[in-house]
């Protein structure tokens, strides 16, 4: 912290705990008809996805890829081709630049 200077061991622990908050990470590339965000890794106790009824791939990559599941990102192939234009680069560190889109009303 900037305006409060840690003065005991607990304060240092509080600072570390607060600094350790992980940021949301945008995934590398558009998959199928959408651009995908990582909603948080869901894995089995061994770190893989074997045997899970809804592993991350099935939930997002798999579903969005074939467009049979309503993914939580705009359809960037048909309706919102431009929505991710400000977010370039493989690591997508500028994911906050992604636009917010609203359903088109004719």
């Amino acid at each position: 912290m900037k305006h409060l200077k840690a003065a005991n061991q607990k304060a240092e622990m509080v600072e570390q705990a607060q600094a350790a908050t992980e940021d949301v990470v945008g995934m590398a590339q558009p998959m199928g008809c959408t651009t995908i965000f990582n909603p948080g890794w869901e894995a089995n106790p061994w770190g893989g996805v074997n045997g899970m009824c809804a592993p991350m791939e099935a939930d997002l990559l798999g579903c969005a890829n074939v467009c049979w599941w309503p993914a939580q990102v705009p359809d960037s192939l048909q309706n919102y081709p431009e929505w991710a234009r400000a977010c370039t680069g493989v690591n997508a560190e500028d994911w906050r630049n992604l636009e917010v889109v609203f359903p088109k009303i004719d």
């Binding site: 305006h3 003065a7 005991n8 061991q9 607990k10 304060a11 509080v14």
Partner: protein
């Protein structure tokens, strides 16, 4: 944005030019910069506020960015909150049945050769119907009980207590042998300790302590004049005879022969014996490494009880001894003043407790019948008996009591910034004063808050002028005792 100031989560302690913020929700300490100080002061005056209001108020003194950043930092510590929390439901929070037992107190003797006037076990009523001496079967079952309940603890503590425990030294030897054997079998370290009045220490007893590295605490109240005031024998004719002379001879033997661990003196501070510095100097001159002071537990009106004026004198004495502690600490010398060392440990770690102590959780007491009590102060108090080592613990009642004593279930404590350090205070003190062990020790609140503020200032001074002293010399009893102390 609407903000609410939470006074119970923030307390400022002046330290030199600066103010220290005690973030009471976590017991983290921070040195505040001028922006934080100004925001805290504003919050203290305006419990309901808006971020815009604060910015206006402090406009010109600090930049809007600095105000915004500082507010965010204070929100993260719950000093300001954006929404008033809903009232908390009162709920059980700890499941005693699965709480591992770490320490068991054995009342091996239900009798004492002294008749100290302030003893919390009144003569005659001593420990109810318990036999004078604990027998071997009960002792063995108690040790079995300890190991059964110890869970994953790698170390267990057997604490011998009385009456005067050394009146049943024979049983102590048997218990130690058996507990060590059980320790090897269960792969747990067993630590032994004893609180004694010192009248029965002989070379044989001392050598036994040495062989088993007993942690020793001797109850002594200071120089003869103060000690003999309330710690005495009763002669056959019913006359009071001070115990000091008897004890001092034996303490000298003890200090000469016993080198396994530092020996601690425990002082009961009573009306007329509040000279902290004099008591400390005397007891350390006898060879005690540490001296701990406990204000006496007394019902209202007892002649030995401490009144508010006496407590202020005790506190003044603590600070006088504290000044010596600091002076010596700056030269890397440790001063055996338990109360301050405990406080500095708590301040350093940021201790934040839900309960005042481990009684009923990690610590239980067994009397001569095998009956289990909250702690060593309760034997004979039926209300706080929770089963028996032979038949098992009365978990329902114990759960009910412990959870009623949870600090969040003590409404008065919710507005107090030291609630995490104090937890509401001693169950036995509350039981004696108010007839209910789960009530907070209201008569000590001011004393403890002032003592804590003092401890924080001492801590800050030591960290500033001799950083590392607290870690190296003071932190202990938490598994990381520095070598020079053990």
């Amino acid at each position: 944005m609407d903000l609410h100031f939470r006074p119970e989560n923030a307390h400022a302690v002046a330290f030199g030019e600066r103010q220290i913020l005690v973030a009471a929700k976590s017991m983290a300490l921070f040195v505040m910069d001028p922006v934080a100080e100004a925001l805290l002061a504003y919050g203290q005056q305006h419990p309901h506020l808006t971020s815009e209001g604060i910015s206006q108020e402090l406009h010109g003194r600090f930049s809007p960015e600095a105000i915004g950043e500082t507010l965010q930092e204070l929100v993260r510590l719950h000093v300001f909150v954006t929404e008033q929390p809903a009232p908390k439901p009162i709920r059980p929070v700890v499941d005693i049945e699965h709480f591992p037992l770490g320490s068991l107190v054995l009342n091996v003797a239900n009798k004492c050769n002294l008749h100290c006037s302030y003893c919390y076990e009144p003569e005659g009523a001593k420990y109810g119907s318990s036999p004078v001496q604990m027998d071997w079967d009960t002792a063995r079952q108690s040790i079995d009980f300890l190991f059964q309940k110890a869970g994953n603890n790698r170390e267990v503590n057997v604490i011998f207590f009385g009456g005067e425990a050394l009146l049943n030294f024979k049983l102590m030897r048997e218990v130690v042998e058996y507990a060590e054997e059980q320790g090897r079998e269960h792969d747990k370290k067993v630590d032994f300790s004893l609180t004694t009045n010192g009248t029965l220490l002989t070379d044989e007893v001392i050598d036994f302590f040495q062989a088993h590295r007993f942690g020793l605490t001797v109850s002594m109240d200071g120089p003869q004049e103060l000690h003999d005031k309330r710690r005495f024998f009763l002669t056959a004719r019913g006359e009071k005879k001070g115990s000091y002379e008897q004890i001092v001879l034996r303490i000298k033997r003890l200090m000469a022969r016993y080198t396994a661990r530092p020996v601690v003196a425990r002082v009961t501070v009573t009306k007329g014996t509040v000279e902290v510095m004099r008591i400390y100097e005397h007891l350390t001159s006898l060879g005690f490494f540490e001296v701990g002071f406990s204000p006496v537990t007394a019902k209202n009106g007892e002649e030995y009880g401490l009144e508010p004026a006496d407590l202020r004198q005790v506190l003044a004495g603590f600070k006088e001894l504290g000044a010596l502690y600091v002076e010596r600490a700056l030269q890397n010398q440790y001063t055996g003043f338990s109360n301050l060392s405990t406080m500095l440990t708590d301040v350093h770690l940021g201790t934040n407790k839900l309960f005042p102590c481990g009684a009923g959780l990690g610590l239980l007491d067994v009397d001569g019948n095998g009956d289990v009590y909250l702690c060593h102060r309760f034997p004979g108090t039926e209300e706080h008996q929770y089963g028996n080592v032979k038949e098992g613990l009365a978990y329902d009642r114990l759960n009910e009591f412990i959870n009623s004593a949870h600090v969040e279930n003590k409404p008065v404590c919710q507005t107090c910034w030291i609630r995490g350090l104090c937890g509401g205070g001693c169950y036995h003190e509350a039981y004696t004063q108010f007839g209910d062990g789960a009530l907070p020790n209201l008569h000590y609140c001011d004393f403890l808050r002032e003592w804590t503020e003092y401890g924080i200032r001492v801590y800050m001074e030591l960290q500033e002028k001799n950083p590392g002293f607290v870690e190296t010399y003071v932190l202990r009893g938490r598994g990381d005792a520095p070598k020079e102390l053990t």
